[in-house]
Amino acid sequence: MAEKPRLAVLKFASCDGCQLALLDLEERLLELGESVEIAFFLEASSRIEPGPYDVALVEGSITTPHDKERIHEVRRQSRFLITIGACATAGGIQALRNWADHEEFLRAVYAQPQYIAALEKSTPISDHVRVDFELRGCPINPSQLYEILRSLLHGRRPRTPAHSVCLDCKRRGTVCVTVARGIPCLGPVTQAGCGAICPTYDRGCYGCYGPAAQPNLVSLTSHLISTGVSQQEVVRTLRGFNGYSPEFRAESDRLAPP
């Protein structure tokens, strides 16, 4: 990589929360600024440097015909394209519309829907261009983002966990909310990354970091249903921030065929 690699942070359909994770690095961001040139990061600066970029962090999903073209230009301008967050890696919460009639949504929301150009589905970046690394989370974990950038600077493979949220619950001494309190939780099938925040605050896991490696969704949902959780609630739990990820989608579609 170049002496001072050039970094771009780009946005598609998203809430900007994952870009904020970069700002949340605070002191580590200043340190990072010594090693990389932040060439394009509208969330932080109006100074815009043209491409090409060594590293592009791409937030957001593809939801408009314009974005569908723009992502190809981003790919052309970027040596490493890294998608950040549930929108970019799985279509995001806005992918809930993939199970509905988007024309109907347009009519319900906009007074003049004829001016809106939106695609029928919200899709992850990897459906459109080659992606070098996907960093999951809603939002992403700043420390994991830092690890990605650090590993790129040193030319090694990033270390991000593939294990379930359960392992992190146990490591931090959080009692299982499903076993001890009967709360439905996606922790056993969700990739770690948040540090098991929700179970630690008495909530079931929402699956913000997407499916863990080889998730056994059929077993988990069958067990939840056998313990009295309604099928409707299980489907709603699966269709969250990462509902359109292939594994969660296949299971919710099995339970509630579209």
């Binding site: 340190e31 379930s164 299982c176 076993v179 056994n216």
Partner: protein, 377 residues
């Protein structure tokens, strides 16, 4: 003696009696001697092991109801202090902590400087260690302290720790310590062992350190009646144990059934989420990671709990060895119950039942073994 593990088996057991008020003094007594007392207490809807500074923090008047995949706290009809079995925590939380900084290295003008990290954990007094957990401590002693590579973190914490055991006077449907020959009666490995009676506690001293603590309490020699009550209460726990695991020739039985169709059957239910290994008081898998700063001039070595159920845990140069859940469940069960014997001379299972209760889908290893043995279908 400080630094020596309790060898209660060789000591003469003369039972003493302390009433509740007197026994309550044991916590301040231990604290005065510099111990951090860890005992059962209610947190997050379960009985966990956490620092306590008074017996009032014990789950007095509470019990636990356990089944495969289910745990609930319930009120008792009485005010027993130890009227429950084991919860999601085990003592390994304190002896083999989930995260440990092992060492650090700094790049200086003279080259790399390596430094060990001194463990600053307090001196623990474990209050309420059950017979199955005494067995688990003995197993982890073999893993971490016997042999050429002694784990410094475990060893230091373990040698300084004081163990106050509690005899179970009831059992959960998930308990099967009797099958594993580990309980419910505490017979070795404690400094003090306690049996709760209706009006106080029967105390057995297991070590000189234990004796020194007990001598600070006003006790009397236990009466025949108190001894009989203790015996009857312990017998109640024995009678309540219904779950069984047939250990006869288990090593050969399991290792000769590596292609049994049951492995696929359990793989369809297993989430490979690692909960069983996390709650297991003997599982010791961990991973070690080097964490560097951006300039890579300061590197820390961290150790964290890990699990054979994690997909990439068996990653070696060239790839992952145990690619599917079937292979990973089989690895866990055959290690725990069979190859552990080859490795450490004992079974890795103490029959505490935690893996059954805390499996989110209620997989029961005793049932899996029975099917593989051909006892059930």
């Amino acid at each position: 003696m400080a630094g020596e593990l309790a060898d209660s088996s060789s000591r003469k057991k003369e039972a003493l009696f302390a009433n509740r008020e007197e026994f309550a003094r044991i916590v301040p007594l231990l604290r005065e001697r510099g111990y951090a007392v860890i005992g059962p207490t209610i947190e997050q809807g379960a009985i966990v092991y956490a620092p306590i500074d008074s017996v009032e923090q014990l789950p007095i008047g509470w019990t636990d109801r356990q089944e495969a995949g289910m745990y609930r706290l319930e009120r008792r009809a009485d005010d027993a202090w130890f009227g429950y079995v084991v919860g999601p925590f085990s003592w390994k939380q304190y002896l083999f902590p989930p995260h440990t900084k092992m060492s650090e290295s700094l790049l200086t003008a003279e080259g790399w400087e390596f430094r060990a990290v001194e463990d600053d954990a307090p001196m623990y007094a474990f209050l309420g260690v059950r017979a199955c957990d005494l067995a688990a401590l003995a197993i982890q002693d073999r893993v971490f302290m016997n042999g050429p590579y002694v784990d410094p973190v475990y060893e230091k914490r373990r040698r300084r720790a004081l163990t106050i055991a509690v005899n179970c006077t009831q059992a959960a449907p998930t308990c099967f310590c009797a099958s594993m020959g580990t309980g419910p009666h505490c017979r070795y490995g404690f400094d003090i062992a306690v049996t709760e009676l209706s009006d106080g506690f029967l105390l057995e001293v297991g070590s000189e350190r234990g004796e020194e603590i007990v001598s600070g309490l006003a006790t009397s020699a236990a009466t025949e009646l108190q001894m009989a009550e203790a015996h009857q209460r312990r017998a109640r726990a024995v009678a309540q144990i219904t779950r069984k695991l047939d250990t006869h020739d288990i090593r050969n039985v399991l290792l000769s059934q590596l292609e049994h169709p049951r492995w696929q059957h359990v793989a369809e239910r297993c989430l490979s989420c690692a909960n069983c290994t996390m709650v297991c008081p003997t599982c010791f898998c961990c991973s070690v990671e080097e964490v560097a700063d951006l300039a890579e001039t300061r590197v820390e070595r961290h150790r964290s709990w890990d699990s054979c159920f994690n997909w990439n845990f068996s990653y070696m140069n060239g790839g992952i060895v145990r690619q599917d859940i079937r292979a990973r469940y089989r690895q866990w069960l055959t290690h725990k119950l069979a190859s552990w014997i080859d490795q450490f001379g004992v079974s890795g299972c103490v029959g505490c039942g935690r893996c059954i209760t805390w499996c989110p889908v209620g997989i029961d290893l005793t049932e899996e073994v029975a099917v593989i043995r051909g006892e059930a279908t």
